[in-house]
């Protein structure tokens, strides 16, 4: 249908989604799309990204505070530390679009997130997923789910965005999420940096 309509490079995914072995997103097309208007500048979108990453970091720290189990605590501290690197990446991108923003501690001082990656409310998410937060495997599965949903949300944001520069920035952020997901996959498989 598309090849007869001017599309030269159409590829069928053999077996469809049932054959897909990687992570999958869920939810309707409009899930959490009310978070943005669609006409945000790159700066606004990057600031939103920082809020989301800070939110996820807060989630990991809060969860860590609620456990005494050493392996779990170590994992959660490690994941919170990884989020710090993600925040730095986004902040560095923010500096390129607005060089007047160059003091990261000052910028972050005003950020008190209630929401995290994927657009989820932190406290509600913790309550609804408490059973997964009792083991390192559960935490990693949840972390991968969050990064998958975050990737999906950023790409749906890109679809909605009316500014080409903002769209490109959202694609860059989505590429970052892809690498976050890959890194979590390696930790899950026990192939990554020591905790």
């Amino acid at each position: 249908m598309l090849t007869g309509a001017g599309f030269e490079n159409v590829i069928n995914v053999n077996g469809g989604i049932k054959a897909w072995q990687g992570t999958k997103a869920a939810g309707p097309v409009e899930l959490n799309m009310d978070i943005i208007r669609g006409d945000e500048s790159s700066q606004e979108i990057l600031t939103l990204g920082v809020w989301f990453e800070k939110g996820l970091q807060k989630f990991y720290r809060q969860t860590s505070d609620q456990t005494d189990e050493p392996t779990l605590k170590s994992l959660l501290t490690h994941l919170a530390g990884i989020e710090d690197r993600h925040i730095k990446t986004l902040f560095d991108l923010l500096k390129t679009v607005d060089p007047s923003i160059n003091d990261r501690p000052l910028f972050e001082a005003g950020i008190k997130p209630k929401m995290m990656e994927g657009g989820y409310d932190i406290d509600l998410f913790m309550k609804e997923n408490a059973s997964y937060l009792k083991t390192p495997e559960g935490v990693l599965d949840l972390a991968m789910m969050l990064e998958t949903q975050a990737l999906d949300l950023y790409l749906r944001f890109a679809e909605k965005s009316t500014h080409s520069q903002t769209k490109e920035m959202l694609y860059k952020i989505a590429d970052e999420e892809k690498s976050h997901l890959a890194s979590l996959g390696r930790i899950r498989e026990g192939k990554s940096e020591r905790l």
Binding site: M1, L2, T3, G4, A5, G6, F7, E8, N9, V10, I11, N12, V13, N14, G15, G16, I17, A19, W20, Q21, G22, T23, K24, A25, A26, G27, P28, V29, T148, Q149, L151, D152, Y154, L155, R156, A158, E159, K167, E168, Y171, K172, A174, D175, K178, A182
Partner: protein, 74 residues
């Protein structure tokens, strides 16, 4: 006016492992993942970042897809 041959031109197929490698090796925004199922199926699960255009709507909504970029359809 399309020729009949163009409408039934066979398209390339990739196994999901190769699609996964394609997605990993191509920057976001350089291709389209297109989900042609129904909204309920999409809601249950979908490939992250895929665009939903149910098959019956595809001809009328093809303008929403960039023809210059590869389109991976499931």
């Amino acid at each position: 006016m399309f020729g009949i041959k163009q409408l039934f031109k066979p398209i390339e197929s990739l196994e999901t492992d190769d699609v996964k490698k394609f997605v990993e090796n191509h920057p976001e925004g350089s291709y389209t993942l297109l989900d042609v199922r129904q909204p309920g199926e999409y809601e249950g699960e979908h490939l992250p970042g895929s665009k939903l255009i149910p098959l019956p709507e595809l001809i009328d909504r093809k303008h929403e897809i960039d023809p210059e970029k590869p389109v991976l359809v499931y």
